[in-house]
Amino acid sequence: MRQAFAVFRGLVLSSLRDKYTLFWDLVFPLVLLVILVSIFGNIGNTISEIVFDVGLVVEEDQAGGLLPVGAVVEGALREMASGGPSWLNLLKRGSLDEELSALAEGRRHAVVHVSGAEVTVHVQEGRMLSEIAGDTLGQVLESVNVEINRRLGLISSASVQTAYRNVEAAAGSPEQGGFDFAAYMVPGIILMVFLSSGLGPMVQHLGVDRELGRLRRLFAAPLGRGQYFAGILFYILALSLVQVCLIYGVGLLLFGVRLNLLAWDAVFFMVLALAALLALGFAISAAAKTANAAAALSNGLMYPMMFLGGLYFPVMQLPYPFKLIVLANPVTYLVNGLRHSLGVFTSPTPPWANVVAPLCFTALMLLVGLRKFKWDV
């Protein structure tokens, strides 16, 4: 035990002396949490604040139709553009060709062209904001048409109303509140640091120490292999504990996220996550022949596991073959289980799968690791 503690102490001191390791282990996850919540937590409001530059070209109705469509459309759009903060900046400056070239140069998001009773909304395909502007204008003009029909007494019954609501995606009781993106992100960031711990320090220490012959020298001293291994595990456990506290603290202080991280099922999923990801790190150390190869394998696995595990956004709706990766990824089940147990998001995978899949994965990785691992190169 004393020897294991000595290894643990050595690792802690070495980390404390390395400001970069401290930054990436302790500060970076917090920076990432703040960035993601600030951007995506309010994306609905941010998008609704976008102002679209829309060119309007009205051609006189030569046929002298029943209704001055140009005037009606212009009136409706002007009313929309004038009232308070609006999503529409209406520009009526040039001919159709001039406006279309402004659209082609990116100075307009869309161009509305009224010719007789025909209204054409020109947008640029493949340009995201232009397509959003086009769809929105299309809806507005459809509603103008309904309104004209109504004012002319051509329709009497009410038009269809749409009512939007979010489903109760939080697993807890309604009193716990609805969906909160910051609360959704906190377990995601916790598992991200566990993934980094499993594929980082474990692989790095085992790989580099083995390759440089440090292990051989260490084991010549009165230090057992189990004690060395226990020292690394203690270090990762201590690091993970500090990381979880910091992430929760920032979530609470900056975004008011209150989660019961000490609930037995949440603790179970966090322990299971650490075990599964450390087992993966152990298997990588065993399978890779050099420290360089181990690092490359870790990096190659880390990003797909992170992003296709649903740590930052839901992934169960992805099409095949991506969904196969999602379903084969233990992080998917771990993060679903943790979020569900914390009451922040209903698990899209069955509760039994959230336990069984990571357990099987851990067993498999341990089996690979124990069979292949060599203490010496």
Binding site: G44, I47, L67, V121, E125, S157, Y184, A295, P314
Partner: protein, 359 residues
Amino acid sequence: MKSYLVVAKSLMLSLLRDRASLFFSLALPLIFLLIFAPAFSQSGGNNTVKVAVFNTASAADRSLLENVLNGMTGLRTQYLESLDEVADVVALQQADFGLAWDGFVLEVLLNPARLQDNAVFTQITEGIRSQLDRKRLGLRDFIKVEVQKAEEGNPDAGLSYILPGVIALGVMSSGLFLISSSFMHMKERSVLKRLAATPLKKLDFLAGLITTRMALSVISACLILLVGWSVLGVRMPINWPLFVTYLIAATLIMSGAGALIALVAKSARSASEIAGLAMTIMTFFSGVYFPLEFLPKHFRAASLFLPATYVARGFRFALGVEPMAWARFALETGILLLASLAAIWAAAVRGSWDADRSE
């Protein structure tokens, strides 16, 4: 010229042995492309949108909705017996969104975690509502609305947006770490000090070093375009001469950003770590994956100071995804290029090649 070629060849061989640089410049952007393409591409594109429906309307209105839904392409409809069932399948992500129809109100159930998709589902719903109105009320078309899209371009705006962003990411990676990591490490290990004692000119060495990163940028961009074209089916009206020229300019611009970092960092390790952090920040705040307009105001303002913002936009312009006035493009690129060359000059040519003397 001969010394430049010798340096370029040896540095290229050294780069090919550097698995970490190859991973971050070649493999990582590809991994990101394959991860983010299905996540950020519009759900209404090639993917089928699954909608769960609970219908309590009269027989006529019920079949009206069924007809409208059947007539919409890319929708897969699942009829359920209760509103709770619809809510459950939406919450469990077995359906993309839910609809409840009583003949008057079309209730739409969205999963709040589907942040990037809900705008598309709202759009689809408004289309359904419009069709219902049209059929039920017998609307007369005083206004015939047609949304006309330019013929060129990829039908999936999300994918079109991401691909140039990922190319920019690869260029950012190879350029940013050129001076901040490779050059600084060689300086710290006294490789440059020894080279300075030979008749090799500083500019020849620097040109060789930059050439290796240019090659890396070109290979990375080609791989991304190839995967985008063959796996994701992305077709873009690429202006090839402009694209290749900009690839070179963008690598220089990002190398300049790396040189700025090298000027302020105290050691190779700190320069490399700062570059890593800068890369992460620029990934989020430079409009690489989503338009800058999606960022909160203060982040949008900060993005104006990041070279990656202009590099990503330049690639979207060169690949025909985002229009821009030529004068503006030339001005932005010219200013950044001049500033970058000045930074590279200050850090790598004018600055000492001896780590001991710099301290």
